[in-house]
């Protein structure tokens, strides 16, 4: 059992799951790093008074370091395939390295100070790469690359010309004018990158719609807010705003909140996973095929969820009723998740794109519902077969109908016309013959033979296809049937416009057979024929007042009639309770 995006043709990537030692090392490393940075801040006087209360700043930094380490560890263990966890761990590690600038040794100070702006680029990278850890488009990649370049290259330049105290190994000269230029460029570019990141997050949300779960929305908000605060902080620095210290605090607190939001998200995902348990119970209690998609939709909290099943035999995707469906393309605002079983395609969940941010939940739900999905697939397959069978029966009957119609026309245009013409010719011959009584009587006999042939042919043609139905409609054709019936018939045809030809012909045969049965069941003294249209269905009813109790099972007439009606997607029923007449009713869709 596995779930993966079906769009990826190359199959599954091999993912190395981090082991316990690696995860433990990250956790321990994070705690040690946090403690160490706290120690740097307290043991040295590296934090100048312009940064505010050393203990507060150091605590917030330590918290950020530990939070990113632990959040990264959790993310890594939960989603080994995603690079988001390692990216968070790296971010935490770099945040720790930055605190080396609080020490008073030359090399650590220089390293720490050189990396001073790198966390900004890393935050931007991580926030934009959530949840896969990969940057999707060229815009994202560009913004992050500019941020990295600015953070890595311009800081040493600043250090070369700026006043960084005695431990700055890069110090070349003090050139305040040059320093200001480099600093301004660096801050403006980084602030711009951060605001660009906020714009990208906003665009994404607009495109994908609001996330289904509030924790995800919260996480996105935390990301966006963090980036806004970095930008505000840098710009405040640029103009030497009075409240720079407070802005710095707030920025760090907000950045420290992102992993918290992430942890809340994970906790919520766990809660969401509890819905998998509910799903299992629900699927056990309601095993109907129709209930499957709604149940999965509830478990994933996506009411729009739809299912498509793969039928290898038909090489197509179908819905639960076996009707072919197209999977949404990439531009449809819908996402798909393929569910496989033993390496074979089973079904595809068609869901809200927001669910793409919760691949484990999708996988868990897919796995939990595997058996139910397999049942659903079988159901769909059965329906598809049934549909195919119905279609082929309809085609067989329709082909027969067309063939009979063609034969009727051939008879009409051919033999019947020729016989009439022949009869006319004989009449002319008779007139030219003079008064040979023997020849005249033989000619007369021949003409009578032709007349009989014509009458017989007419019956044959009528038996093949009631041309009057296709030519003039059901109402006109039924008039004759009703008039020829063995009992008085009250005929009521209320249709408005004409019915489709197949339905008209079937209705004609229903009435014909119904009235023929009235004749057979004898005791009837009157009958009623009603043809109406209701809710896109044509309803044909033949009711007599006879003794009822007719054997409705026997008789190929009724069976053939039922075939014809059912082939059109309709239904034929007969009621014949003893002593209460017989009622033949056909319903056929005629929309």
């Amino acid at each position: 059992m596995s779930a993966s995006a079906p769009a990826r043709p190359g199959g599954r990537r091999r993912v190395r799951v981090p082991g316990v030692p690696a995860l433990s090392a990250v956790a321990v490393g994070g705690v040690v790093a946090g403690a160490a940075s706290l120690d740097f801040a307290l043991a040295n006087d590296g934090i100048g008074p312009e940064l505010g209360e050393p203990l507060v700043i150091a605590s917030i930094w330590s918290w950020t370091i530990v939070a990113y380490f632990l959040g990264g560890m959790l993310a890594w263990s939960r989603r080994p395939a995603s690079r988001f966890g390692p990216l968070m761990i790296v971010t935490g590690a770099v945040c720790f390295l930055v605190t080396l600038s609080w020490t008073t040794s030359d090399v650590p100070f220089t390293i720490g100070q050189t990396l001073d702006k790198l966390p900004t680029a890393l935050f931007l990278h991580a926030f934009l790469a959530f949840p896969t850890g990969r940057l999707e488009g060229p815009l994202e990649k560009g913004v992050v690359a500019v941020a990295y370049a600015t953070a890595i290259l311009l800081e040493p330049a600043r250090m070369a010309v700026g006043e960084y105290g005695p431990h700055n190994l890069f110090g070349v000269a003090s050139a305040p004018a040059a320093f200001n230029v480099v600093r301004d460029v660096q801050l403006v570019v980084l602030a711009g990158c951060c605001l660009g990141g906020v714009a990208i997050i906003a665009i994404r949300r607009r495109r994908r719609g609001r996330p289904l779960r509030r924790s995800l929305a919260l996480l996105n908000d935390a990301f966006a807010l963090g980036l806004v605060m970095i930008a505000v902080f840098f710009l405040a620095n640029l103009v030497d705003a009075p409240a720079v210290a407070q802005i710095r605090w707030i920025t760090f607190v907000v950045l420290g909140l992102a992993p918290v939001a992430f942890l809340i998200g994970i906790a919520h995902a766990r809660l969401a996973r509890s819905s998998v348990g509910e799903l299992l119970v629900e699927l056990r209690d309601d095993s109907s095929a129709a209930g499957l998609a709604p149940a999965l939709g509830r478990a994933l909290r996506d009411p729009s969820l739809a299912l498509a099943f793969w039928l290898p035999e038909f090489e197509t995707w179908v819905d639960i009723d076996g009707r072919a469906v197209d999977l949404p393309g990439s531009g449809d605002g819908r996402a798909t998740t393929l569910v496989e079983h033993d390496g074979a395609r089973l079904a595809t969940l068609v869901h809200d794109r927001a669910l793409e941010e919760e691949p484990e939940l999708l996988a868990a739900v897919g796995a939990a519902a595997a058996i139910a999905l397999e049942n659903g697939r079988l159901h769909a397959e059965q329906r598809a077969h049934l549909e195919e069978l119905r279609g082929s029966r309809a085609r067989v009957i329709q082909a027969g109908q067309r063939e009979r119609q063609r034969l009727e026309r051939d008879l009409h245009d051919g033999a019947q016309q020729r016989l009439i013409a022949l009869s006319l010719e004989l009449r002319r011959l008779e007139e030219q013959l003079g008064s040979d009584p023997n020849a005249r009587s033989r000619l007369d006999l021949a003409r009578r033979e032709i007349a009989t042939s014509l009458a017989e042919l007419r019956d044959v043609a009528r038996g093949l296809h009631p041309a009057v139905v296709s030519g003039h409609g059901l109402a006109v054709a039924l008039e004759q049937l009703a008039a020829l019936a063995p009992v008085p018939v009250r005929l009521c045809v209320d249709l408005g416009t004409r019915l489709p030809e197949d339905v008209e012909v079937a209705a004609y045969y229903v009435v014909s057979e119904g009235l023929a049965n009235v004749a057979k069941h004898a005791t009837a003294t009157s009958a009623r024929v009603d043809v109406t249209r209701s809710d896109g269905r044509a309803i044909v009813e033949v009711v007599d007042d006879g003794a009822g109790g007719a054997d409705t099972e026997r008789g190929s007439g009724l069976r053939g009639l039922a075939d014809r009606v059912e082939a059109l997607g309709g239904r034929l029923r007969v009621w014949s309770p003893p002593g209460d007449g017989t009622r033949l009713r056909a319903e056929m869709p005629c929309a």
Binding site: L454, G471, H472, V476, A477, Q480, P486
Partner: protein, 214 residues
């Protein structure tokens, strides 16, 4: 007497034209389609048209539509519809509100030249001609309490001929009785069926048909 023919089978069209010409008709137009017929009726002003109920292009109801349109637009032109099936429903559609100058016969009838030519003449002069099958269908129709049972066989014969459109003279000729006798039968029949006796012979056709159909 001027006649126009609409029939898509060449064989039959030629046969019909020859038959009518031999019987003294002036065949002014021979058409293959209903549209052609409509045009030629306007140009040649025939007294009567003989039209096949099934005409191109669909061979469904083009002929019948043309006949109904002609009756509405050219009431003075008699319309005789020929068909290889006679249907009560079609007769009713054709005779919707008048039996004057209209006929509906099985195609086979054309080989009974005498009767057929008589029918064409009748229709041309405002009378009617209804196929015996239609009449017998109507007479055979089951009714809850059948007043037709009160008719004598002779009266029934007269009724049949009357319903088929025969004039009193036509009935007298056919049954070899006097015109006076026919008139007596007719009034007896109307009385027995409870129908008001009406003047014109074609009007009484419709009255009888409506009575038989109900």
């Amino acid at each position: 007497m001027r006649v126009a023919i609409a029939e898509d089978s060449v064989l039959l069209r030629d046969g019909l034209a020859r038959l009518l010409e031999d019987s003294g008709f002036d065949v002014v137009a021979q058409c293959e389609t209903a549209d052609e017929l409509m045009l030629k009726v306007r140009s040649y002003a025939p007294d009567v048209v003989v039209v096949d109920i099934r005409l191109p292009p669909t061979h469904n109801d083009e002929g019948l539509r043309a006949a109904i349109t002609l009756r509405a637009q050219h009431p003075s032109v008699g319309v005789l519809v020929l068909s290889q099936y006679v249907e009560l429903g079609l007769a009713m559609e054709l005779l919707a509100d008048s039996a004057e100058g209209v006929g509906y016969l099985l195609k086979d009838r054309i080989s009974d030249v005498g009767d057929f030519v008589g029918a064409v003449r009748r229709v041309a002069t405002g009378g009617s001609a209804l196929d015996p099958i239609i009449v017998s269908t109507l007479l055979a129709r089951q009714r809850p309490d059948d007043p037709l049972g009160q008719l004598t066989p002779r009266e029934r014969e007269v009724l049949e001929l009357m319903a088929a459109g025969s004039s009193n003279q036509g009935i007298a000729d056919k049954l070899v009785i006097t015109l006076r006798a026919v008139e007596k039968y007719v009034s007896t029949i109307f009385a027995k069926l409870g129908l008001p006796s009406s003047g014109s012979e074609s009007r009484r056709v419709l009255a009888v048909l409506m009575y038989l159909r109900s």
